[in-house]
Subunit: 477 residues, 4 copies
């Protein structure tokens, strides 16, 4: 879901790093410990959103919801989970955004209407949400949040369809954009992916219960079995008599987010039918073929670059080494000395292993360069630790456009690759050489032609146009 | 506002002590520190609601709201108040209710609609809220809270009137019940009391700013001047060009809540045109005339009985003494030893002064007996501290009916006076004698005929009938 | 106990309001819920110290201690109390001091030595603590706190006496000053008061268990019976076979702190053999005789002046009224608006009742004037609420000297009465007249000749001299 | 420092996992932001102790100390650090121990004596601490903690030496065991390592300031330069005029803890003159030579096994793969569903990457097997993810004895290798093969003969005997 907040509340000078949310959704139907499993599932999806977490369960008579600021393990304790009784529940984690009172837009959204109580979790972002909202407001609707997800709930409440699933289809036919949704009503849980399938959604099984999850790694944690992906445009309706599958939307070319594989999903997940870890290794291998380097060691920027670096090392025949180690005790905020420490922010997270780097020609592998600031600091640190050459290798093409479909990205002006050549970026980050994987190389690694994936952030080819005026207002252009 | 929650979520066995809320509202228009003043105003109204507190301010471009669990002084710190910029703000305190996540219904409610952003605080309770809500839901509306206040917001959004104040009048003409409301829109603050005037609402002035407050004591704290009560059925619209007054509703006989004077309001407030402290003393004096006692000392149950006891003492010519002292360090929860302590809960709050009570015949004055459990413990404690006789005197008539207009009361079955004679109650609490003030005596103390006040909880004469079926569902009957 | 901290850590410009601690002690021997009862006892003694609270219990094998910042009810929860097993425990509350890490000196102090484990709580202040400490340090001792109480523990550990009680006597013969102490060892609890008996200490009984407490009000809360005061110079040793009483010190004239009766103790306590509430009424009555006023009402500054005001009213035949009411929801810190509010700090706590004060000549009764700042604000508020005259009456003599025996007082220079005449003070606070009770009047109220009480803060006659150089260093002179 | 607590407080059934503490120490002398740098240094040493953290600084007049439960980044905020002024400070992190109130033994210990104020941080464990403590107690000393470190402070205070450094030498000549200590006095900081050099301690430089740190990685974070190790038996005295070095103890054969290299220190640190990461890779390489396996992939148990696995892979010519990924969002406590999840605890931390493991013969490399429970779960998980064979390889010899010198280890009975053959362990953990590195192999990896290291936990050859009776009492045998 995208927050409408910034535009309204803070004018046009929005730091776009913050105005969108990548999220994770999870749901359980038919297990006596539905809320507890949802809590664990959300913990496994924590990398998809750390600001707030929420769970709604149905206890046979009514719905109870808890939405909290913070990570799952902090936000939910035994007392809170104890209030979430029932054998069905859905939950949501949400990405960190600026500002204080983040609870207003925390999900699941939970409403009542003539259909009874309904809760929903949304991963994605609508492109025409504002437009529909304006129309609904003119017709007398009131909005309690700034989330585009609330638009969907209004449309469902207004649909003439008797069945909830039909009303949801009615509503979703009006919206455009990216959505993987999990709904919970008294007697059913419904999962649905938009026809292009931007964001992932998978099905699992545990002791007869049905599970919905953004990624399969959440199934592993609770000991559930991975069944299959919910397909783009598919709706699954889970009731006491089992799961029912529908394909209510017109078929469209799939546009699954390739960035899920490059960076966002966990390497132990299966996403869009592929092992994320294996894809990343292949990205590294393609990169080694396209952009070899004369070097002594291949070093990853942990953890994002680990699998690609490993793939590069194998394909290039250059040894892989742990030349940067990650500090596992990184807190929220740090007090920096006034006498500033060079590259302080990066040092808190990473430290070079001098014994590995000293005197070496290093291939440094990462998944992406966004603004270029962090990469520059890492290259400096690696050189300061004794590396004689640093050859930066990026396991995807240059990122030249923002995302409108539910990934939090800076606006175009802040994307270094949108306005600078590769050589300019190389100079900026201070590397001896710099190479990105080509679009073709990336797609080869996916073992798939370009048709099935959204690559808009690398190509500017947006499957669903975002209203230009709106993008300008939001500062995206 | 009344929460619909219990009925839906917890079935029919609701402890009615909790299903209604008495609240306090406060608003400032035209002062650079609007939110800070609102915070202090709410602190002065803290006795009207301790569960949650909320403030919404308008900063010139948009509204910011903060709603928190807990008392005002804990819930709001400098960082939170710092986010509430602007020269206009409204705030709300709400009574303690059961359950955990009390934030869902915390006020001010804050929405956006085609009229822009709107926030509202409500003290009172609608009688036909559920009925309207059911109609609105059938027409496609969705509800994000269980508060009847949300009904008013929907009706406003749907009104065809161009002006906000006209739309509010449209909406309020549809609802029945008790409401003292403070609205905040971008360019105006609006206060309104229902035509019967159940709950109080007053106006004050501070350096050209206009203040709305449930009670005048909040004006004292911030150094503002008391102007006058908002009259029953009156609406005040405060804009940059000053305050405008309207009387848009049909005139009705006033039905101001007499319980505000007996117990609820602070003794240093002026409510319904009277000093609460002075009225309480007069209640005590009337009681002394109606129900004299042969005794050595008059002792109050602090703090509720202090003024009435003082009035009794003066009228009866029996010395007033501090025979019970209050512990000022009462926390939220206490760990009681397993080997239970007699009257533990009461002891935490009150302790008898043996030197005052020993060997004395005591007139013990309190404002009311609800279930009788606490009174019984206090009488026991006073006797254990050496009193030879305890003559209990209550400064109002027996409470025989629940309230439907915004005061939290138990259901009829739990009201000891609804099912027991005065003599039975006397035996139960263990007093040597027991007397209540008569209805006539109470009205004499108000210096007013019965017409102006709601006395339903003493007489069962309800100014606005509460649908019987609904009352039964809610367990009120 | 007195903290040595300020002198060492903050140089000579110590705000003396903070450099001493008034404390409360409590102990239980022989009850299965010793720690729970101690927790409740400390809650009843909360007025004697709000900064930190601590409990140590002996569980049959070892001692467990918990010391916490904050009030008792916040600081101790079920989990914490659950760790404090055993049938014997002692506890301590300590007055608020400046600075952050208040835990370092929190009591009970708990050590081990060749005598095994020992814990101690101290109410009072040693006069030669620094001197002994310096000697002990020169002999190789190390100190972990800055509390003078630690000196006592060192002396006990060094004593050659075989029995703990004899070693304690050895130690206490070396120290001079005020101490009411509760010790806990594995097999005994020991209570002792210094020979002059500056600070109170009482004995109670509950189901065969023996209780030590600073004030009797703590016995009321747990349903225990008051037995008697521990006498000045008396030691009580409580063991499995019962309580044993000793008088190991040379007899001295008693010097019990008269301020305990004037202000410090709770009115429902019996202290030094007298009801505190009754004494306060008598102080008010003496004051009415000594300093009558032509007035319409007697009003107390709550709560400290309540009993004295009542006594004044009765003796003077002028009606007592509640002209100032106290706000019961006072938090720790408040955000004051930048546009400052007149008398803000006082308004947060007290509000005048205009209906009582308007047009009246008011006798305003309080227990003391320290710096004069608060009294001035209260007089202003009472006049602003309509009083035509304010006659201030103080229920003790002018406070002209600081206390060295365990009461937190400002230094002499800050005591308005030390440097100003009564007429000057009257002008400063803006009252129409001002009178203090005379020393003779105060002692009459105690029903006792001057011999039994310490009145140093009113007379400058210090029973135990405080080394002048030290007092100067500490800024007391 | 070792806590004496368990023996005394909890009898003989102590879980030995908890009775000892491994710690980290850090100190800065001569930098205006000494406390801030210490805070960051402790953050970099966080892996050496997560329970509590403390810092003491000297501000020119006195010492201020803050000791807190929790990790450094949580425990210290700007307000707390703001109280720690001055250009010299020492700090300490301490390992998690059982029980609630861990503050009692938190370091730095801070005392005053005739030498003035003194603070100390201790990494290590004394062997004769109890013995000396008993003697000191018999001589009249009192102890405020159960830490053996307090013994050292007593001995220093009792020394007749005029200079602090001489008194410290006096004291340390009496104690036996492991100690790397940092002392802070008003005018000097002193670092010292025991003559055998069990625990590490290094020196660094930053802008003229001298730094003491347990590991060099803390220097990297603050941008300081590594100077050299403090040598076994060496004392460094840092004063305004610079650092002075002494070797006051009789020379002894060095016995540096080999476990620091195997597991405890960070791979980016230089410890005992060697790169920890490089040593670990060599351990893996030796292991590959000694215990080859027919396999398809080498997989590490992250993070402890990463470097060794990499070394194994290179030496064996079998590809290294990330077959297990770590969850970076591991909180303190998790609510486990009642219907228990197989290997739940391990799953929270690690997840297998099925695409890497499926159908493969896996060499699984870890640094040690302690009780065997976790290894068993990991092997199960790897097999469940499709591995056809699992060959477990451990990069050190079987752990057969507890440590008495400052590493927290279970007692002998819980060490699976102390009572089971390698074949029995293999069966227990369910691996297809299991091999440990030999002692000779381990020492070869250190590039050092056995003389310089303590290998007691692998050989039972304890450089300083631990009194047998005491070990038995403590449950170590």
């Amino acid at each position: 879901m995208r927050k409408r907040t910034p535009q309204r509340e803070r004018g046009t000078t929005i730091p776009l790093d913050k105005f969108r949310d990548e999220c994770g959704v999870f749901g359980v139907f038919g297990h006596p410990e539905a809320a507890n499993l949802t809590y664990l599932g959300l913990h496994a999806l924590q990398h998809r959103g750390q600001e707030s977490a929420g769970i709604v369960s149905f206890n046979g008579r009514g719905m109870n919801g808890e939405r909290r600021i913070g990570q799952v393990a902090e936000a939910f304790d035994e007392a809170v989970l104890g209030r979430l009784r029932g054998d069905r529940a859905i939950g949501h984690v949400r990405y960190s955004t600026a500002g204080g009172s983040g609870l207003a837009n925390a999900q699941p959204l939970q409403i009542s209407s003539h259909r009874g109580e309904l809760a929903v979790c949304h991963n994605g972002n609508l492109v025409n949400g504002l437009e529909i909202r304006d129309r609904l407001e003119r017709e007398g609707s009131i909005f309690g949040t700034t989330a585009d997800t609330e638009v969907i709930l209004h449309l469902i409440a207004r649909s003439r369809q008797a069945l909830l699933e039909d009303a949801i289809v009615d509503a979703l036919r009006e919206v455009k954009g990216a959505y993987s949704l999990a709904f919970l009503a008294a007697d059913r849980m419904i999962g649905v992916r938009d026809p292009m399938g931007f964001r992932p959604l998978s099905l699992g099984k545990l002791d007869g219960a049905t599970i919905l999850t953004s990624e399969s790694c959440a199934l592993d944690l609770i000991g559930a079995e991975f069944e299959r992906d919910v397909m783009p445009g598919e709706m699954v309706v889970v009731k006491a008599d089992g799961a029912h599958f529908y394909s209510p939307f017109e078929k469209q070319r799939h546009r699954q987010c390739i960035f899920e594989h490059v960076y966002f999903s966990r390497p132990d997940s299966f996403v869009f039918g592929r092992s994320v870890g294996r894809v990343r290794k292949r990205l590294g291998a393609e990169l080694a073929r396209e952009a070899p380097a004369e070097a002594d060691v291949v070093v990853a920027v942990p953890d994002s670059g680990l699998f690609a670096a490993q793939g590069y090392s194998e394909a290039a025949g250059i040894p892989f080494e742990f030349g940067l180690v990650r500090n596992h005790y990184v807190g929220r905020t740090f007090i920096e000395p006034q006498q500033s420490i060079r590259n302080f922010g990066v040092r808190l997270k990473l430290n070079p292993v001098r014994a590995v780097l000293e005197g070496k020609r290093v291939v440094l592998v990462d998944d992406s360069i966004v603004r270029g600031t962090t990469s520059r600091k890492i290259v400096q640190m690696v050189k300061a630790a004794g590396a004689v050459e640093v050859h930066m290798r990026i396991s995807c093409p240059p990122t030249v456009g923002p995302c409108y479909y539910g990934v939090d990205t800076p606006n175009r002006g802040e994307l270094i690759a949108a306005t600078h050549s590769v050589e300019e970026i190389r100079k900026h980050i201070g590397a001896n050489s710099l190479a990105y994987l080509s679009l073709q190389g990336m797609l080869r690694a996916m073992e798939e032609d370009a048709g099935g994936f959204c690559t808009a952030c690398y190509t500017g080819d947006y499957p669903i146009p975002f209203p230009e005026q709106q993008a300008t207002q939001l500062g995206l252009l």
